[in-house]
């Protein structure tokens, strides 16, 4: 037990985000279907395609490590997604639904930004150059998605909800 090191922590966290991404890719089509705004719906669909690519990058990192690509239950993403489902139920048919969906998606993005930031930082420390490159690609995508959602909230979705 006391022998666990940063390599173990990296692998555990990789499994955590792998599980999370698999949950996210199942949830995004439901959010796209629920959204009233075609622009918000399109943003969710675009991010779904991106998420599939992000899962492939994680597969590559597991391969670099010589480990099977396997998820580990991530309570954080399950909690974040449950809150999103609650919003979908409680605000169904209201003008505020899209604002709530968008907020739920940004909570997901921020979880991912935190995890990929951490993994990139650890991969750098561990000298895993190829992993750093792959993690950085995803990190930039997540930050861009978060920015897109912020702009969509300010220009369209919140006005509709108020």
């Amino acid at each position: 037990m006391a022998d666990k090191n940063l390599n173990d922590l990296f692998l555990d966290t990789l499994k955590d985000i792998y599980f999370a991404e698999k949950q996210i890719v199942k949830t995004l089509p439901k959010m796209a279907k629920a959204a009233n705004s075609p622009k918000l719906s399109a943003a969710f669909e675009k991010h779904q395609v991106e998420t599939e690519g992000q899962i492939e990058r994680l597969d590559e990192i597991f391969e670099l490590l010589g480990k099977p690509a396997r998820g580990k239950t991530c309570d954080a993403i399950l909690g974040i997604i449950d809150e999103g489902k609650e919003i979908m139920d409680e605000y169904k048919g209201t003008a505020a639904l899209d604002a709530g969906l968008l907020a739920a998606a940004q909570a997901v993005e921020h979880y991912e930004i935190s995890r990929y930031g951490t993994l990139k930082s650890w991969a750098t420390k561990l000298g895993m150059k190829d992993a750093v490159r792959l993690l950085d690609q995803t990190l930039l995508e997540e930050k861009k998605t978060d920015d897109t959602l912020t702009k969509l909230a300010e220009t369209e979705v919140n006005a509709e909800a108020a």
Copy 2:
């Protein structure tokens, strides 16, 4: 049901982050005690004092709304904190413990950044100037704490773990 609007969503999300902050303020002393690095421990203690101030700002916003300050179970923060506890158990006594604690704290920070960003954006749309000011103060503190943790990871904690 169909009458719910952005005011309701704002109040629901305020209750969510109020519950979350109350959980965080209980967890930070445990993290400070668990950390090996005195600098990391001090960062957690500093953030605990800040969190108490952030709860007071939320109290003020409830008062501005004329509503009782009351939390609502936030599954997201419970999941994020559970993951942190798991790290504390699984990496106890290892050189990687601090890196794991720091990553858990950054996941908490990012959840808060996402929630306060959303609340500030909605308060702006709803014309709640005083609430915008209070939310912005907390948002800046959370971003600063996240930056502090990133620097601590890069300069101290990850090197010790590798």
